[in-house]
């Protein structure tokens, strides 16, 4: 099947996990004074990675391009802010289920409507729902208008008086976010390989055929939409905890567009790709922001370039690594055949016309 990956994928994932887990060992040494700040950046990248994976279930797995996915991300933040008591911390034990329930219900209602449309109309209706909520929270007083709402205390994770993880501690919060993201990854990994995932895959390939076989595809898509919305909600809740506020920007179309770019940059439908995509996007963002005030221009150009060179995103680099088949023997042959050949040798596998479409990984 499609989702059988070469061994280097889990090896890479484990290595990256280990590097992140060991951050206290290398963070301060490598980055120095900024290591606290960078830890928060890493935490945010993990959260956005979770968010991007949730969108990948729609965009990559089913082929439903949503431009309103931030709705669930932002709504969760507002849920947390509004349900938290003002002068004490809420308990994550009931905050987490509450956020998931709100996300699930809103995804159920919105999904039931938007999934009746297809193609460009699906994109437009998801965008419209996102914008509707955006303007609602920007204008309403109970959501704090355009300022949003503050979350004075992060929820606690405790049994009785025993604090399991002190979420106010940045390092602990980082580990907590990492654990949640990892769990979500494993869950989605399992889900898209399950019988359910096979049906989603079939819908992506040929929804019409699935219906002719007897599948009520609408229900499957709706179930996936709800799962995706719940995971986006968990990401949004973590983000609001990290920022300490819920703000209209957390559910605007800007963020919906950005997370879509993370998915495309990382490689649609691969799950680990969008996770990497979120890291890459944020790193680029961070680097360019410090370089120039025109960082958005640079960012746009870089992303266009990456997508052109790597049509299957960063994941394509790992699943289908470029082979350095140099023309002739060694460097001599290289000089003989000139730079054009070098270009082809380096980019060959990534050039679209050299790709056979139905390639599967086993």
């Amino acid at each position: 099947m499609l989702h059988r990956y070469p061994k280097r994928v889990p090896i890479m994932m484990l290595t990256l996990t280990a590097i992140l887990v060991l951050y206290p060992l290398w963070g301060a040494a490598l980055i120095g004074d900024g290591s606290e700040f960078f830890l928060e950046k890493l935490t945010l990248m993990l959260i956005l990675g979770l968010f991007a994976m949730s969108l990948d279930l729609l965009v990559g797995v089913i082929g439903l391009v949503s431009l309103g996915h931030a709705l669930f991300f932002g709504l969760a933040g507002y849920t947390l802010a509004m349900a938290s008591p003002s002068y004490s911390a809420a308990s994550l034990w009931w905050m987490m289920p509450l956020v998931m329930l709100v996300s699930a219900l809103s995804a159920l209602v919105i999904g039931a409507l938007v999934l009746r449309t297809r193609g460009i109309f699906f994109i437009m209706t998801t965008l419209a729902f996102g914008q509707m909520l955006y303007y609602l929270v920007s204008d309403a007083s109970f959501t704090g208008g355009s300022d949003g709402l503050f979350i004075m205390f992060k929820p606690t994770l405790a049994i009785g008086d025993l604090t399991l993880i002190d979420l106010e501690n940045p390092l602990h919060f980082f580990y907590f976010v990492m654990g949640v993201t990892l769990l979500a990854y494993l869950f989605l990994h399992w889900l898209i390989r399950s019988y359910f995932g096979q049906v989603l895959d079939g819908i992506h390939d040929n929804e019409h055929r699935m219906q002719a076989l007897g599948y009520a595809t609408y229900g499957y898509k709706l179930a996936a939409f709800v799962i995706s919305g719940v995971l986006a909600g968990v990401a949004g809740m973590l983000a609001a905890m990290q920022y300490g506020f819920a703000n209209p920007a957390q559910l605007g179309w800007h963020l919906s567009g950005e997370v879509l770019m993370m998915v495309i940059l990382g490689g649609m439908g691969t799950l680990f790709g969008p996770l990497l995509g979120a890291f890459a996007y944020e790193l680029l963002h961070y680097a360019f922001e410090h370089l120039t005030v025109y960082w958005q221009l640079l960012m746009g150009l870089t992303i266009i370039l990456i997508v052109l060179v790597l049509p299957k995103g960063l994941a394509g680099l790992i699943l289908d690594p470029p082979r350095f088949r140099l023309p002739g023997a060694g460097m001599k042959g290289l000089f003989r055949s000139g730079p054009a050949a070098l270009f082809k040798a380096r980019l060959g596998p990534a050039l679209p016309h050299e790709h056979d479409e139905g390639r599967h990984y086993e």
Binding site: Y195, D205, H208, R209, Q211, A212, L213, Y215, G358
Partner: protein, 253 residues
Amino acid sequence: MNSALLSTRGLTCRFGGLTAVDRVDFDVRPGQVHAILGPNGAGKSTLINLLSGELRPSEGEIHYRQRPIHGLPAHRVARLGIGRSHQKTNIFPRLSCLENCRLAARIHLGGVIASWRSRATARQVDERAEQALATCQLSHRAATPANAMSYGEQRQLQIAMVLATAPTLMLLDEPLAGMGREETARVTELLGALRGDYTLVLIEHDMDSVFALAERITVMVDGRVLETGTTDTIRGSSKVRDVYLGRHQQEEA
């Protein structure tokens, strides 16, 4: 009419100004192979699409086992035991043969949830898929991705997928289209072996296969039924010879 497994009355389908299927009365008797003949654009595929629920009739009725099914969505019709294959090859190219058939079988054995809940059901899905492949002589290709097979094998897989849904009635739209002589003979034999176990509605241009397989034939021209009858009746019909078979033979000559 009452002995029919499937029957239509006044079935009509319009695309804008074009009437692709025009007041068709059509009866399929249980256990029979019923072929539909007709020149290109006669409305054969449109008729099948109406029967399978993929198109909604503009007018008219479809009864399956004496119950109305016009207006039901395609997946509901499929669940009633009406399986179909498409004129264009319509398989899941990245899945293996076996996985293609499992996908087809699973929805008719309680769906995803039943396979999750019960190992026995999941095994049943596997068995039915394997059996369908065996019937279509594709067992040796079980693990091969569908897109890695020859065109003829892909057409066979399409039939296997319909079989895996364990249908009562099979609607096959040009199962032999584009096949070589040898493949045509093999698949004709395969379809012959299905006779008796299934009721078949078969659209086919290959005359030899049609006359070898079909018990009844309906000839369509311009969306209308020109004539319906036993294979011998149709073979002997002057009307059919004039309008259709004659044209067919002229083309071949």
